[in-house]
Subunit: 453 residues, 4 copies
């Protein structure tokens, strides 16, 4: 795709976002417009047929269109001009009816929607693949204990299954958002010069309805040339999704640190190497995802800022969308795809997970001790008591269990036989299992309704 | 509220976003937690009663909490400490059970949700008021013609009713988004230290269910301490809404320009004056709304960037939300309220709207002429013909009608009697009326289902 | 360049930002490194010669490098590998010394700096061209009166020369910022794996000094692998510049509105047309510049957010820069170039400028009247008096002069002979001329010191 | 300051950014304007004296000003009105000359500059304190070895001194940027209604020069009401600084992880505790700094986006700055202050730093081995050889040294006596020491020129 494309993008998605696809989107609009106008007896049926069969992007010179677009101010003008010329070669009479009653933005916006439809479909399918991968991790590791970390400090035991379930739970919400988006944002744009469809006389709504049918798009109440919440919502939904992908990648990267070692991205020859360090196995997918999660928020802000459009069609703000929205889709797709691949082969070191729970010499079980004391002492008093024990353990480099065993105040409430099991992670997992079940059930329910998404 | 508060904010909303409301939100959580734990026999019923009745923000010293929060790292720690002390005064035994099994973020996040609930409710009510105002404008001005403008140039005739209907249509979509948000984002946070509810032993899900009932919040599948798509979605939905408010304000400001004069914000003594210019009537509400629309995208980007959280609870990213999300709500609310007020009293100068359609000496009707010629000449040829006439009209300072009347080529297709009506805006409004009807119907349908929002 | 490239970008700049240029940048680094190491007797002189002559981007397959980069995680790794193979074909012995002691990021960052050097030079030259155009406008139009507008309302008379001088003054400041940037941001990156240059033994600083000399780059105190303020400062300086370009474009667009008509972008066949409207002459350059000014702030935010890098080299944050910084340079360059072209041929309608000063029937001279009264009545009283007259003029549709002539209170202070000249814009221009002189002098001074930039 | 203020802000800075300080800034402008106008014989000297002595913010009711500002559209209008009334009580004649010839934005912008002056001064002093702390760390720990980490993986040995020197080096660059900023951004705003100073007749530049003198501010070539690069540059410079603060905090947080343990923020009673976890010592300062570094980029983007202002004074864009720029200053100041405090008491665990270098069983020294082999085998061959050894070591859980010792190919080039020292971190630090010296010298040089900053 280019020097950085294969790293940052998803090869299955890029063709949908290419210049050629953009031209094809506009041509699909022009073809459908002609057919719809023929159905409404606005233009002759023959003309519609000829126009339709000329609407093939490969027959257009993208670079030449680009040069003309730089004079005209948008690419639809040269596309319409080139299409008219192409049609004229076949049938001069048909050429009279090209782009009848429409405006550049009708072609560009509808073309964009036509590009987004398969792109969002591909993203949803990939989100489903990711969800399946995460569901398998959640289920397989429901008893794999590791240290839960808060503020980047070990806090207490949890399971890797629960962590994966948390990732999955968020992905399921993004699938719902994407489903809503696909039903709401993928609508026809057709308004003519100022959004009244005046050039179609009294046939405006009839034609619009027919174009929507031709393209299997919803018909909006009125044109949205200068009301950009629909494309901006595509940006925000993917922006939210990128945040979750970034969160998962951050977790993977933190767990893959040399000193932690609990997770690793899949190995492959040359993968994550270094130009100088022979021992390196860098988490490449995490880097790609984190880069996307760093870049997308600013791009979303651009889409939101560009919503402040003037009058019936904006000057500059609309232009600001043209490269920005496809870039968001592309970066999100790349991150999603590479993350899904990496998680499919995620290496989980259960032994190190368990071993790292010993790093603190028992401090990570402090809350368990506290909650055992609390019914006897009250929560706050128990917290103070255990805090003191932790300080003492830390100062002397002793295991918290030993310190507690030697503490007279503790001894009044807990026997040595009470204390031992408090340091068993498997006994302090609370509702972890039940929570995993809840998420897996939601995942199964979501997967069972493919029709809805 | 402060030097700039009354200008930028909405006085009905600010109390819901105050420090005191934030403390009360945490206290409401603590009270509900205690009651729920009593129901589940985790703590004594008496303790729950005492805790509950101490949970009144007015009994706490916000400034002192702030100082302690700066040491502890979050405000929930001193709130719990102060609450424990307060309860202890009433009933030392009850004090043993304060904040049982919960973590700071449970209190803070649930408290935030409890603040957002009435805030989002107020925003929806105000959006409905705005929708009503816009619906009235759309209906009243369905025959008020004015120049539609694209790229900040007069393009063709439209109606002010259609413009208002376009604004309304977008607002209706934001109401749907807000309705979804209220049903999805307002959920309980309860997970304990690392999200397992381990401190509640095997009563975790039972307690969580009961707390959700107490607070009338939905129970999520699992805690969302480090999964921030829900609060971030509040930001994005309001961000999308702010874009539309900004678009409306931009339109008002453009139409209120001295040389345009078609719209004006309501007059009031001192409103929009100047410290030096005696004649000024500045569009203050537009300024306020445009400022908000300029500020909110960057804040939304912050919320998205902050989604990349570490492990079970993040370091810094979570903190980044604390002031940012309320700021978005506040700025959006201020913009919405001031815009609604201004549009309620919007002055519409129908005479100037009609008069400005004459500014171009007929050029604004060029497409009407072209579409009259097109059936005879083809669309592209008609466009070339009319382009030439426009150039000629511009060069000689003549009315396009006159130029056309003297054009031999045009005369072959259009008689003078054909040409005259092409310059009547009312005859070139296309589907404007039908589109307005469609939006008004959608508005009525939305208003009829208050239960759903 | 592509479908949208010619519209949004500057053809003279794009080759400097291409994939090929990026590869060449890395190769230039590798060649300089080899030569420097030969000078320091770290590697054999023959090896350096062979490496040097292989460092030609055309000999590399960019797409193949891209595919390998997606596995390795960065493009320097395959570049070094391919270079090593290429060198080996010529001289297997020389191939032993390719990339000696350096790390991927050394090649990529220094390569970026080598791309930025001519790019920033081109931008400065184009800024100078813009400054010259603006200086000519400021001088030529120092007596061209028009309405100064505040809050999008006519406020008082000013000159178009002063407006152009204001634009110029800002551009001069950006030239200073760019000059500073070029002297500060264009520094060598060379640190080896963790920034210690350990692989070069005790020759590290000697080699680094020699590489800096080879490439005519400054030598930093230490490597900046994870300290990104230099590249981020490139982003912020261009971000500030984009704000000014956007401000100028906004001004042009507002003055080019149909109802204002004071300015117009140059005409050319097909320029700013429409796919349906035959009379349209859209301000294309303004649209392009406003689009860039809308997009760049979000990209700058990305560069700032990406500064939070981990340890000696970051995971993801560094990656986030790779496409973002070149995009900022490219968008800024496109906007700058197209704006400069448009302003070079800017059409200024002095007659309409003067005529629009009459739109308000004298209200635009209200301050002039007030300041004539103020010495007699005090400023606040004068303001109240004129405010009342303005209200009366507005209500009755009369010229402010008439209203004042009939006002008894005014008559006590000003005779009709006093009042008349107050409505002459040329008499109420204050220090406009002197300010223009000050800016033009600064421009001349800046142009006289080409050596400094 | 409020519930979150003490945590996120710096108490020494907040008074400079308060509402009262904002009012005082405007009053200082009004006082200086009056004195300057008296010097230029524009208004009577007595009037200037009375105005001057009334310009004390404590005499104004900030809340009442806020309410009036919400009607007027900006706070300068009610300030001028209230000041006029106050002066009138003392001397009705003097009241006639309040705010003579100025506009609201003159007062607000100059007032802002007067607030920024001490605020930026305080920030520079605190940056110097931070630089001193870092210089001490760099010097003290120049021989403290630890693992350098890239892509969040151990890469090779470095020193903590070099890490601190890297932090310091960046801070020194920010001090230069801040010094430039203070000399360039702190300029007078005085232009009157449309920037011509017309209300001052032919005394405009004389008065402006005198006001600048009174306030010890630079006099710009012309007013910058709608040219906002100066305030936006304040935002970008602090934005760059925030990136570095965030980078340092990220480093501290990563090194403070439970499994790493090399650094810790200072301990204090209650500091970084938890509402439920008795053993927690959260890095609170790091969280605060990272939050600021997450928030500031979006705010900077707002300042850049707001630069696209209309005509002589903007509608909304200027308003967008009013709360945003002080917020940036405040968040940056809070982060800087809390980070400096934390680093002043930073706990460095040299033993763990050394111990963690053993985590990889020698892999972290792979490059050292490779560079010992490379002169014999060539760099690429050496890399392949060591890569294989690393794989083998990893697979078998053996120390790399052992694997190498048993490798026949390695034995051809390196004897056991050669291999041993390659695993001594102290022998593989390259130019670390020299680099530290370079940065410390730069720090001393910067500190020696207080006059320049």
């Amino acid at each position: 795709m280019s020097l950085l494309g294969p790293l940052f993008r998803w090869d299955a998605l890029e063709p949908l976002l290419s210049d050629r696809a953009r031209v094809q989107g506009m041509l699909d609009f022009e073809a459908a417009l002609a057919r719809a106008e023929a159905r409404a007896s606005v233009i002759p049926a023959t003309a519609a047929r000829v126009v339709s069969r000329c609407c093939i992007a490969e027959r257009f010179d993208v670079d030449a269109l680009g040069v003309e677009a730089s004079v005209a101010g948008n690419p639809a003008i040269p596309v319409v001009k080139a299409l008219t010329a192409l049609v004229a070669k076949d049938d001069p009479e048909a050429a009279r009816y090209v782009h009848w009653g429409a405006t550049s933005q009708d072609a560009m916006d509808t073309g964009l929607v036509l590009q987004l439809r398969p792109a969002l479909g591909a993203l949803d399918a990939e989100l489903e693949r990711l969800a399946d991968v995460l569901a398998a991790l959640a289920d397989r590791h429901r008893s794999t204990v590791l240290a839960g970390r808060t503020w980047m400090q070990q806090a207490g035991p949890t399971t890797f299954g629960l962590k994966a379930a948390g990732w999955l739970d968020a992905i399921l919400r993004h699938r719902v958002r994407l489903r809503d988006l696909r039903s709401r944002a993928l609508v026809l744009q057709l308004g003519g010069a100022v959004g009244t469809l005046a050039a179609l006389g009294d046939k405006g709504l009839e034609v619009a309805t027919a174009v929507a049918e031709e393209l299997r798009l919803a018909l909006p109440a009125l044109p949205w040339h200068a009301h950009r919440d629909r494309p901006a919502a595509v940006a925000t939904v993917l922006g939210l999704g990128a945040g979750t992908l970034g969160k998962i990648a951050r977790d993977v990267a933190l767990h893959a640190q040399t000193e932690v070692g609990e997770l690793a991205e899949p190995e492959a020859p040359g993968r994550g190497g270094s130009s100088t360090l022979p021992h390196k196995q860098n988490p490449v997918a995490s880097a790609v995802v984190l880069a996307a999660a760093t870049r997308i928020p600013g791009l979303v802000a651009t889409m939101l800022a560009a919503m402040v459009e003037e009058d019936e069609r904006a000057l500059g703000a609309w232009h600001a969308e043209w490269e920005t929205l496809p870039e968001i889709v592309s970066l999100f797709g790349g991150a999603l795809h590479h993350l899904t691949d990496a998680l499919s082969g995620l290496r989980v070191d259960e032994v190190l997970m368990a071993a790292n729970l010993e790093t603190t010499r028992g401090l990570v079980f402090a809350e368990a001790v506290q909650m055992a004391l609390a019914p006897r002492t009250g929560r706050a008093a128990a917290q103070r008591l255990v805090e003191a024990a932790c300080r003492s353990a830390r100062a002397d480099g002793r295991h918290l269990r030993e310190v507690l065993a030697g503490d007279a105040e503790v001894a009044r409430h807990l026997s040595p036989a009470d204390i031992g099991p408090l340091f068993d992670a498997r006994r302090y997992l609370g509702a972890s299992d039940g929570m995993i079940d809840r998420v897996l059930a939601a995942h199964r329910a979501a997967s069972a309704k493919p029709g809805e998404s």
